[in-house]
Point group: C2
Chain length 484, copies 2
């Protein structure tokens, strides 16, 4: 009995979100901690979510001209050093391979922290004329950034899974359009697949990707009031192309330096998914990405076991042939209540309950994971009805997250107000800002909140005339928040 | 002009197979050499082939109970050391991470050479009772083995892409069935998708996977007479389970040690694909896995450009809506001859030629890549007709490879005969063998051929009574071959 109780979530999302999150991740069998600090093991149920994200995003990438490739996991130190911002930005967090077999290597090799410095030189090899542009490459891989912080599965890990796109273009305008195209696709993934509304923005100059001209990102607000940077899309300008000699001949036979972009979405998006929707019963997952979209739980007595089970199997088969991912839980050794709890913990978005009444009335009882709402539906056209329920579950999840976001964007015009608002409510605080990092530091030192974004549009007027911190002329509106 | 000639293959498959292979790989844009010896860059056309292999194999794995997961790329040295055969087998070829950021690590971390030593301990965590078995995990990832040999893309590289499956079972019989199931799936991939007939066998005891009870493999014969080990499937016995404490409670509440397997297919299968079918015009690819299955080349004069192009577009659209991967090459700046050569080089299995005659007669000229056979087909039902051509192209490729295999398995009963046969013909030489590694060494030292397999069935009678090398009693039939 004590064993069975331990299966459930014991921590509270509201009162101890950190412990609660760790418990959901482990008990829903999404991930485990590896023996080395900072590393995790992604279990099949967690990896299936990542595969779901891949399926969506990879299809969109390919439909919009990007091709997958694979570059070495190890990058020579001399390659990293060719772009000075990259080496300065990443050097403190590189894992170095220094020995191969029993020999010391002549040159250290970095486990890729990001691949601009190995991909751009090859783009340079492959691009001769403007006819070879645009060139759009993407790879799904893992990267390592050796940060010494507490491990938080999918949010803070030394090794993480991601995709990194790298493109080269003839003009700034095309490269900028590419940057926005990928940001749009990330936004679509978050909103339409993961049911998480996001904000789009630009990173302040001091927080750009090393070497980038502009870093854009999408930010999602977690229920505990912290922001998650879910993906970034960088317009790199011509700096990387210059450093790695990515030059092409234009239509007039002139040599020109290409404009490049890079863009990445990591498994932080998966962390955001888990944290946003889950509750004190466990993991909650939107239907589009759920490994099992429906669990069918037959409820029988000894005298009607066959009848109920046959009917349940039949229903499950209907869903399966309609392409719905369904699990029939016909285990004899577990009672229905146990099964309900287990599948709630594991995040199956829709449950079918089928007992003798459902069989007799040719019906199915349909229960929504997020709120337990229960409806009786006709057995006929059940697959189609189920899709409506998927939409309903999605809407419930999206609306709750949207409400959280809408209620938690506030304005402030002086430091105590910034501190007080974030301290009390979390969320985003918009404030007029002069653009100086020192003014961010004032807030950061007090309350560990930072400027997570400024508006994408550089011409947007700031919400006030004076910087809330120093009182100098405000250049733009800063969004302060605590963040993961 | 000289530039255009350089696009084509200049080496001969028959007379300089090594240079020819390297040229095909690079000019068909499958891969390039990375700056660090032993590493390659897999270009989009090469990676698409790997994705094709993944699509097939991953579906079969999932249909047969295997789930994907992701384990860390780095493994602590102390974990590797827990299974003594693994550490002895792989220690000489491990790439070691010794520094994280600016700090020396307390313990070296191995870039995974294979993942038994990190996966088995977690299986041990997750398995409590016989109800948790079988447990079947797979991951798609890269591994590094620091071997100092000449780089040969997809055949010999320090880092390579593969999948590694790891399973645990209650009994030896179940684990053995699993080992065979995966070998079957590899065979199916090679034969039905890649059009390469293979032989199944067992590795001699001295060439097993470190720590394995039995290593089985599939072997493909290349046109140059060398064998390629395309995939391996290991029955690991209970050694790994004992080393990593993978114990379960059986139905009688007794603790028992699990039986485990592991099985892997790497991008060597892709190397075998390129080497088997390609020719002096470039890459040749079976339709099932080709990035473009059909290229449509319109052939127009000034006065009929629109007419021909419209018809060609229409044909291409028909194929596309039928799910066929088609490329319409409507470039103005290239003539049809140039296009033919380019797509032959790149390995598109079927070419459509569409000129004014085809338009007038409502036909399509269909050309097979492997042998240039050309047939005129009706425009009606062209998608269906195309599938028949895919089958025909597949059959041509498979039959050529099958003939090569059938003609090159010979018998020999004494050392000079073994050496002479392999020296003259390459291929496999079957010979009675006592089972002693020393007898293999005699042959190996003379001609660099080794025992690539023995029959799967341990009870199969050897083809002669006396070992061809030492004259002692023969235990089994050895297949000698040179190999990649």
């Amino acid at each position: 009995m004590s064993n069975e109780q331990e299966l459930g979530i014991t921590e509270s999302k509201e009162y101890s979100p950190g412990d609660w999150y760790a418990e959901v991740v482990q008990k829903a069998e999404l991930a485990d901690y590896a023996p080395m600090g900072g590393f995790i093991v992604t279990r099949p149920r967690g990896y299936a979510l990542w595969e779901g994200i891949q399926d969506h995003l990879d299809g969109w990438f390919k439909d919009t001209g990007s091709q997958n490739a694979y570059f070495p996991a190890l990058i020579p130190e001399s390659y990293l050093e060719r772009e000075s911002d990259i080496v300065e930005g990443f050097d403190p967090e590189v894992a170095w391979v220094t020995q191969g077999g029993h020999d010391e290597l002549e040159e250290r090799l970095a486990f890729r922290p990001t691949s601009e410095s190995i991909i751009t030189p090859f783009m340079s090899e492959w691009v001769r004329s403007h006819r070879d542009l645009p060139l759009r490459l993407n790879q799904w891989c893992s990267v390592i950034r050796w940060e010494a912080t507490e491990t938080k599965p999918f949010f803070r890990t030394k090794e993480f899974l991601w995709q990194e796109g790298h493109t080269a273009h003839e003009t700034e305008e095309e490269a900028w359009d590419e940057t926005m195209l990928r940001l749009d696709q990330y936004e679509r993934l978050m909103e339409e697949v993961l049911a998480i509304p996001v904000m789009r923005g630009r990173k302040p100059a001091h927080d750009k990707f090393p070497g980038a001209h502009t870093t854009t990102s999408i930010e999602a607000l977690m229920p505990d009031g912290k922001s998650v940077q879910s993906a970034t899309s960088h317009y790199l300008g011509q700096g990387f192309a210059e450093a790695y000699d990515l030059v092409f001949t234009d239509a007039d036979e002139e040599d020109r330096v290409a404009h490049t972009t890079s863009w990445g979405l990591s498994w932080r998006s998966l962390g955001a998914l888990i944290m946003t929707h889950s509750d004190d019963q466990g993991f909650v997952c939107p239907p589009a990405i759920a490994p099992e979209q429906v669990v069918v739980v037959p409820i029988w007595q000894e005298d009607n076991r066959e009848e109920v089970l046959d009917y349940a199997e039949d229903v499950a088969e209907d869903l399966e042939s309609a392409g719905i991912r369904v699990e029939l839980d016909d285990r004899d050794e577990r009672n229905p209540g146990f099964k309900f709890n287990e599948w709630e913990l594991k995040g199956v978005p829709v449950r079918f309950e089928i007992g003798p009444n459902e069989v007799e009335d040719e019906e199915v009882t349909v229960v929504h994971r997020p709120d337990g709402e229960s409806v009786t539906e006709d057995r006929d056209d059940i697959a189609e009805t189920t899709r409506d329920h998927f939409d309903a579950v999605f809407d419930k999840l999206y609306e709750a997250a949207e409400q959280n976001l809408e209620e938690n964007v506030r304005e402030a015009y002086e430091v105590p107000q910034i501190l007080g608002t974030i301290g009390q409510h979390g969320g985003y605080v918009k404030t007029p800002w002069c653009g100086d990092e020192a003014c961010e530091t004032v807030v950061k030192d007090e309350i560990a909140a930072e400027i997570v974004m400024v508006p994408l549009d550089r011409d947007e007027e700031p919400i006030g005339e004076e910087c809330a911190v120093c009182g100098d002329e405000a250049e733009e509106t800063a969004y302060f928040a605590k963040s993961y």
